[in-house]
């Protein structure tokens, strides 16, 4: 009897405890929910849209539907027959009405250079074509329409999704035979830009480590009343607007600016050096901006290292450098990893600073994402470049998360 009561009490207690825990979890979830939904809607949805734009391919499929349908039967060996040309003429008459011929031409131009003006010409001609045979009329208009490659390009571009932009983002393309190949050397562009982006990021990360490590060491080993004052020197740039710091570098590095001023005055150079709009200026300005991001994690790790370890090593007979290298340095590695990884990730996405301080050959991948969005209006290419950059960032972010842990991230 007493045993069963005990069991009853125990099981109901367990159940109540479980329910209380469930309620607590639910309440915690409800607290996080608003931000979760906000980030989902305002941040994730736009990025997903961007990613779909990288494979989205509506121009030809929407505007030349009859041509694409007629081309479906075509095997690609010889020039397509009259029905395809008739459908093409009808589609073009339609696009002339909807004023979309330019769009079609622009899309074809990505595949075949020079196709834009010829498409516009074909559009105007199609309006005047009353009846067939259309094939001869187009062949007479321009030799472009007499090439099998043109029609296989139209067929390829007519699918509603495409790998064209993503392949182009790594300098690849579909050959007329349907194989993936490198684009001709004179059109290769993006692989170099990715390598440049990685190169600048690596250089800046190394520079921040080389400058930040000794400073972090000094700050961590000085008595707090000194180190707190010196820390302000690190934190003030950290808090200062990125644009203000970039402006400062633009002013300081100018041909007529204070640095050239000083160098001329000291007689170190006879004529002003080209400091701004150069790789040197870009790396110097980026290093300046990223230095606190590398330094602060190293500094906070160093502060937790007890000086008695090095003292013990010294008393056991190790020289100062050996004690530092074998006892002190290995303990700072987690801080170095955290700081360098964060700096490297943030460097990959730099846009404003290279755009203002760098020259044309110092622009990083973000610049080209912006360029293709605003200037070239080639949104597919902008999205594909963005997709590659995003992938690189997310992989490194996952590594950071695993090595450091996102909740260990500290500011200031």
């Amino acid at each position: 009897m007493s045993v069963t009561t005990f069991d009853l009490v125990q099981s109901s207690l367990k159940a109540r405890l479980r329910r209380a825990e469930r309620m607590q979890r639910l309440r915690a979830g409800l607290l996080v929910l608003p931000l979760f939904l906000f980030v989902l809607l305002v941040f994730l949805v736009p990025i997903v849209i961007l990613m779909t734009r990288a494979v989205d391919n509506p121009e030809i499929a929407d505007n030349l539907p009859r041509t694409i349908e007629a081309l479906a039967e075509w095997d690609g060996t010889d020039l397509p027959g009259e029905p395809v040309f008739a459908a093409f003429a009808e589609d073009l008459r339609e696009t002339q009405k909807t004023k979309n011929t330019g769009l079609v031409g622009k899309r074809l131009n990505y595949e075949i250079s020079g196709a834009r003006s010829k498409s516009l010409q074909a559009g105007r001609a199609a309006e005047k074509m009353e009846s067939g045979p259309y094939k001869e009329a187009f062949l007479a208009l321009d030799p472009l329409w007499g090439k099998t490659e043109t029609w296989s390009a139209i067929k390829r571009a007519g699918s509603p999704t495409t790998s064209f932009y993503l392949l182009k983002a790594v300098d690849l393309q579909w050959s007329p035979a349907g194989e993936i190949e490198q684009v001709p050397p004179d059109q290769r562009l993006f692989v170099d830009i990715f390598i440049r982006t990685l190169g600048i990021s690596t250089l800046v990360t190394l520079a921040t480590l080389l400058l930040g490590f000794p400073l972090a060491y000094i700050l961590a080993t000085l008595p707090p009343r000194h180190s707190n004052i010196l820390l302000i020197f690190v934190l003030l740039p950290f808090w200062t607007s990125l644009l203000v710091r970039t402006t400062a570098w633009v002013v300081v590095l100018q041909t007529e600016g204070p640095i050239n001023n000083l160098l001329l005055w000291l007689g170190l150079t006879d004529e002003p050096l080209q400091l701004i709009f150069s790789r040197f200026g870009t790396v110097v300005a980026m290093t300046h901006i990223q230095l606190p991001f590398t330094l602060l994690p190293i500094y906070s790790v160093m502060k937790t290292i007890s000086p008695s370890y090095v003292r013990a090593a010294r008393s056991l007979g190790a020289g100062p450098f050996r004690a530092f290298w074998t006892v002190y340095f290995p303990q700072t590695v987690p801080g170095i990893a955290a700081g360098c990884l964060l700096t490297f990730i943030l460097c990959l996405g730099y846009y404003i600073t290279p755009a203002l301080v760098g020259g044309p050959s110092d622009q990083m991948i973000s610049y080209f994402v912006a360029l293709y969005t605003n200037r070239e209006l080639n949104w597919g290419q902008a999205s594909a470049l963005g997709a590659v950059l995003l992938c690189a960032t997310l992989i490194l972010y996952a590594v950071y998360n695993r090595l450091v842990g996102i909740d260990k991230m500290k500011l200031g």
């Binding site: 996080v32 931000l35 906000f38 305002v42 990025i47 808090w239 990125l242 203000v244 204070p258």
Partner: protein
């Protein structure tokens, strides 16, 4: 200053001196460009060279009389204050939820909520430009405020989470067991303890929005031209000393914020009984 043990060898002393000299140069590198442009804002002539021919306040006068700069300042303040308020609410609530014991998939949820800080801002900006175009939010204050809130909230989440580390949950339980309803517990116990973190987070959020230019470049029209946007086009086209005046004022604002955050951090550590 050398702070070396008495058994240090001369070589070690020399090394230490060299190290300190190197650090002095790094500190100089960090601070000098910011310091260098401040006097230039008082230059009487529109040049960026020293020595300056004379002093004047004409660039500050220019800033405060030119409607373009004043409108930019106003837009920036409207956007930054709204985005800060929104991200404070969203970020604090989320940090409180994430701090609860055994939150499911905590690391993943946190990584997701922080990701706007990590993803290259150009990608975010272009994505929002496409998305907001469908919703008619481009070229509106509301759109920019939403975008800046997304970018600024991670900072609030991180700073508030940092104050909640080592937060003794038994304080809340003690309050509850003494009969306080949950809201009173929050107001009387949790809030005072996390307030320093919230204020630091708010300052970070404010500066993130106040400083942001890439998203504005994509989704704003000249009607919502912000201060950084105005500076950006100023540097690109014809760099005028008015920019250095604006920059000087922004540096002073940053210094004031830095001091505030440092004081708050110390206060928070004292409140939670952490000795530095």
């Amino acid at each position: 200053m050398l702070n070396l043990p008495p058994y240090a060898s001369p070589l070690e002393r020399l090394w230490r001196v060299a190290l300190i000299l190197l650090c002095a140069m790094v500190l100089l590198y960090l601070i000098s460009p910011i310091i260098a442009i401040m006097p230039l804002s008082f230059n009487s002539e529109p040049y960026f060279t020293y020595p300056m021919p004379g002093l004047s306040m004409r660039w500050y006068e220019d800033f405060f009389t030119d409607p373009r700069w004043l409108d930019a300042l106003k837009s920036s303040l409207i956007i930054a204050i709204s985005a800060t308020a929104l991200s404070m609410v969203l970020g604090t609530l989320a940090a409180l939820g994430l701090a609860k014991a055994n939150f499911p998939y905590r690391a993943w949820v946190m990584a997701f909520l922080i990701s706007p800080m990590i993803v290259p801002v150009v990608i975010t900006a272009v994505g929002m430009y496409f998305f907001f175009a469908n919703l008619g939010l481009n070229n509106t204050y509301f759109g920019i405020i939403l975008a800046h809130t997304a970018l600024a909230t991670p900072f609030v989440v991180i700073t508030v989470t940092a104050t909640l580390i080592g937060f003794d949950q038994s304080l809340n339980r003690a309050g509850a067991s003494l009969g306080a309803p949950p809201l009173t517990v929050f107001r009387k116990i949790t809030l005072p303890l996390i307030l320093p973190g919230m204020i630091s987070g708010a300052l970070f959020a404010f500066i993130t929005s106040f400083d942001e230019v890439v998203v504005v470049l994509f989704i704003a029209s000249p009607d919502q031209r912000t201060l950084p946007r105005q500076m950006f086009s100023g540097i690109r086209e014809q760099i005028s000393p008015t920019i250095t005046a604006a920059a000087t004022m922004l540096v002073l604002t940053a210094a004031a914020m830095l001091v505030t955050v440092e004081l708050l951090r110390r206060r928070s550590e004292r409140l939670r009984g952490i000795r530095s």
